[in-house]
């Protein structure tokens, strides 16, 4: 046991640790990622059954429905972010790690996005075809999801950490996270819809990107603080 104090941790150390571990865990039991994607496809195909498959109508509601479906799927993946670590004590070890909270919190959320947000984004053009959307709309939709879903993971991650150990479980998390998702939904769905109706999606996408940058700056700190409150 060397008595020289170990160099304190680093942001990259924590980030790499969280990414490596969480992605390996996700690889070991991929059911969560599969369920998230399955839910998204399911929700997207319920709407035509409910509203009717008339092409003009589907094209009109396509972008909005796909975005709401992706948002709900990303939301359902949130408990998987911290719940297991909170239950088995890993979250305590993370809080006590020399690595700064920004590091491992950011890493966990990035890994969570790769398992939930990314597959939803990659799959959205496929679902868009179901709604008869034109290729350029599909592209803008995927772009808006690519920018928007990380914000959902960041916002949702903070709310998931806050709701750890709380009575009410999933429903409470919905009440915390979904109101905060409103701006992301508006800018995201708005971008795809603008493209579909011939307007330029640029303002929506730039606002969404601004939201992403703000989220990347502020939310990892909030997630770290929420976890510290949770393990208290």
């Amino acid at each position: 046991m060397n008595s020289v104090p170990q160099a304190p941790g680093s942001f990259s150390g924590g980030f790499a640790w969280a990414m490596a571990r969480d992605l390996r865990l996700a690889w070991r039991h991929p059911d969560e990622a599969v369920l998230t994607v399955a839910f998204f496809v399911l929700v997207a195909s319920l709407f035509p059954l409910g509203i009717g498959a008339e092409p003009q109508l589907l094209q009109r509601i396509g972008p909005g429905v796909i975005w709401v479906g992706a948002l709900l799927a990303a939301f359902l993946a949130l408990p998987g972010l911290f719940a297991a670590d909170y239950a088995d004590g890993s979250l305590e070890q993370m809080t006590l790690s020399p690595h700064p909270a920004l590091g491992w919190a950011g890493g966990k959320i990035a890994a969570h996005w790769i398992v939930s947000g990314l597959p939803l984004t990659l799959l959205s053009p496929l679902i868009g075809l179901q709604y008869g959307l034109t290729p350029d709309t599909l592209l803008v939709q995927a772009l808006s999801l690519a920018i928007g879903t990380p914000v959902l993971s960041l916002l949702g991650g903070a709310c998931a950490a806050l709701a750890l150990g709380a009575r009410g479980g999933g429903m409470l998390l919905a009440l915390l996270a979904l109101p905060l998702f409103v701006p992301v939904l508006i800018f995201g769905a708005g971008a795809a819809e603008a493209q579909a109706t011939g307007l330029s999606p640029a303002p929506h996408l730039s606002l969404l990107a601004a939201a992403l940058i703000a989220a990347l700056v502020g939310l990892p700190w909030a997630v770290g603080a929420a976890v510290r409150i949770a393990v208290d």
Binding site: S3, Q6, A20, R21, D88
Partner: protein
Amino acid sequence: MTGKHRSGTPDVLQVRDLACRRGPALLFSGLGFEVAGGELLCVRGPNGCGKTTLLRCVTGLTRPDEGTILWHGEPSHVDPERMRAGMAYAGHLPSLKDDLTAEENLEFSLRLRGAATTPGERREALAAVGLDKRRRIPSRRLSAGQRRRIGLARLALDPAELWILDEPLTALDDAGQALFTELLDRHLAAGGLALAATHHRLAPASGVVRELRLA
């Protein structure tokens, strides 16, 4: 300001008038103690008297109502990262992932601790705690005692000066308890220190053992 006493080595951990509540009830107040290099402080007391809460206050997981914690003479909030690097906490929860093998669990736990270890060292540590043959199966299939031994291997390789242990001997058989005592000996002999909440009689060969009794 580091206090000099007993064995003459400076105090690494100092706690002054610590107070903590659990809901409306006051667990303890005005609690103070020091731990120097090579010392083991055993915290004893009936169930529910706040042993675990005291340990968690020292680690910083739980925020005490009052009191200051000094690490190498410096308040803990001055350089929290350095204190966290110098302190290993083994609580009730094993913090193991069921889907990872013993080797992977050990690797990730130590990386989280900021400890650079080679696969060889890790394999040796697992062999030392008798898990060599089982190091590649998912931890889900290990017994509680075997999972605690992964914790022992983690302590063996952790560079932290201060061990904070909550009931370290639970679920360990006689061989496991002997292994733990031997690890503790080596840690104290090398100048490390430990704070343990336990009902068992801990008697390491080297190092000074003191007791702190909670009402």
